[in-house]
Amino acid sequence: MAETSDPRPDGSGVSPSFLRDARGLQRKLVEEYYARLGSPDRSRPVAYMLVGGNLAEIVRSFGYEVVFPEIVALNCAIKHQSLDNILHAESMGYGLDVCGYVKNDLGLQDRDGRTSFGQIPRPDLLVCSFSGCYVYVKWWEALAESYGVPLFMFDVPYMREEHPRKEDIDYLVSQLWDLIHLLEKRTGRAFDMDALKGMLVESRRAEDGWVDFLRAGRLRPSPIEAYFESIFYMFPINVLRGTREAADFYGVVNEEVRARVRDRTYPLPEEKVRVLVEGVPPYTNYRTFWDFFRKWGAVSVVATYPKVGGLFDRGFRHDPARPFESIAEYSLGAYVNQSWPLRRKIIADYVREYRADAAIIHGIKSCRSFTAGQGDLRDWLNRDQGLPTLYIESDHEDPRYFAPAQIKNRMDAFFESLEQRRAVGAAGGPATA
């Protein structure tokens, strides 16, 4: 129960005090990246790629600049530019129910790629990693038609068993070679295995650092915000993987995390509830959303969303000793490429490993890949796992679907009921230690 009225009814941006240097460095990396994309003397060809199961290292080893329209879309949403793009896409004929990322991107492309944070260049090549979302196929198909550039389809089998079959890996590796031939033909350059291996070394270093960061959520209290903070720190692992900057970045982050533990600066003054968060964030209003957590002393200690680029914390690593096999294995490991039984298992493990007291599922109206079945997940968590779980819904890109009053009401009620039950537990005996 909340005493007195809410100090920040609109939840307008309060800068979390615990974010320090790493956040500044992350900003710098983002700015530099977009500046590079937008620079008029850019000589490198551009490949568009999807985050899940992407082949950034291979493509980069041929000198390509890589653009991730999903990331551009979420940046647009954070900067309140997505609605214009979405409306534009709707006037092109994209229906209300089409994924917001797709609409943002296609709307933006049709408006010449201008954003407040930089000019998004047109693609010379489209690499579609069909890993975890069918919409990827449709999206890249649309881009291929409007730009008339080649589309390479990297078909990644959906994970229904914990371990891939030999045929899966063979299929993936054979496709990787097809891609290499295509890249050789397009750039006139020969494939350079050493360059690739060199990048995989950096990728691996970044992945190790990223996993260290994520695992800090196991501490109690957690020195990190595994959902809202990770949103920032995902950028290097997803966009700059394979570069030295990305790998170094996590060194800085983890240094800061250690300092936080030392100085006892935590995401919140008091960690009252440890939350697992599942689902894509409402980027258009993520500050407001965050405030709804903070008001109740709720810290997310683990989240599934930061794993869309790869389940590194479950063991996948790029490996210069087995370049192709490891890339193949990696591409299978996008979070949404796991079947529901596997997803449930991952979540159950997280709850245990991170000692979560509750789960919040944020469903995205226009993303079926992530969302379809989250109701069942809620039911499973609540009933089979005995974990109090709240389901709320809005959109990642479309601010029209974020109803603050409704969401707040639900979150208030949820945390209120947790508090209430805990209070009773305390009266009846010792509460959680």
Partner: protein
């Protein structure tokens, strides 16, 4: 040659008498409450009186609108899109894009120079983009429908509505009132939101040089202003555009009648 057009709309029933496909003799409307067919009959009677003609003088009756099949004595029924487009063209012959905002739906259609509908689109998903929404606002905000438009003109910082749902949008408006947003800003916000929705339909069918607004909302100066602002182009409006669908169906009725006559003359001649 007198033809009648009757538009049995969801909110209002409109009727028009047309002479020789060129001159409007009379036009009238009545709310579509209770028995729409009864209302239409009554309306036709009134029109006859106003135009000073007898019941037998109407040679062809063409219906349109939501209830177009309900009128038993119709000679022909035409869908709303086709009739509104034709009506808009009758009023503004160079119209190439028609925006029709009625009670339950907004529609747009692009037309050829002869009034043939080329492309069209209506708001299917949500009802927040049409006149019924304005009616509800009028009720909630306790501003009579006729005054909503003029009041909105005084807006300085219109407050747009973000909710796509008509019902939830109401709550949003109420919140705005509670937060002290001035009434004109709220009202203009409503019209701008409606216009934006209409604009996205318009862009779907393709923006054309000459645009005409028809349907109930032409009576609303706030809507007209908002639409012009949103589109950034001139938009034709005329008081008669309220009756566009009825006019259009009378016009189509007329050409149909002419065709029938011609063919019967032709057969008689041979």
């Amino acid at each position: 040659m007198i033809t009648a057009g009757v538009d049995l709309g969801a909110g209002a029933i409109k009727g028009v008498l047309l002479e020789d496909g060129r001159r409007i003799l009379a036009a009238a409307s009545a709310p579509a409450r209770g028995n729409p067919v009864g209302v239409a009959h009554q309306l036709l009677e009134e029109l006859g009186e106003a135009a000073n003609i007898g019941p037998g003088d109407v040679e062809y009756l063409c219906s349109t609108g939501f209830g177009r099949y309900a009128l038993p004595e119709r000679h022909l029924q035409i869908s709303d899109f086709t009739s509104s487009a034709r009506g808009a063209l009758f009023l503004f012959p160079r119209t190439r894009l028609v925006v029709d905002v009625g009670t339950q739906a907004s529609r747009t259609m692009s037309t050829s120079e002869t009034g043939k509908v080329l492309k069209f689109k209506m708001n299917e998903k949500c009802a927040a983009g049409a006149g019924r929404f304005v009616e509800r606002c009028s009720k909630y905000l306790q501003v009579p429908l006729e005054e909503i438009g003029p009041k909105a003109l005084a807006a300085e910082h219109p407050k747009l509505i973000s909710s796509v749902c008509a019902v939830l949008a109401e709550t949003e408006i109420i919140n705005n009132v509670a937060e002290g947003v001035p009434l004109p800003d709220i009202l203009m916000g409503v019209f701008l939101s409606l216009s934006q929705r209409a604009y996205s339909l318009m862009r779907y069918v393709g923006i054309q040089p000459e645009i005409t607004l028809v349907g109930g909302l032409v009576r609303n100066v706030g809507m007209v202003k908002a639409l012009r602002e949103t589109v950034g182009l001139p938009v034709n409006v005329a008081p008669e555009a309220f009756y566009a669908a009825a006019i259009g169906s009378a016009v189509l009725g007329h050409s149909r009648l002419v065709k029938l006559r011609e063919s019967s003359v032709a057969t008689a001649g041979t």
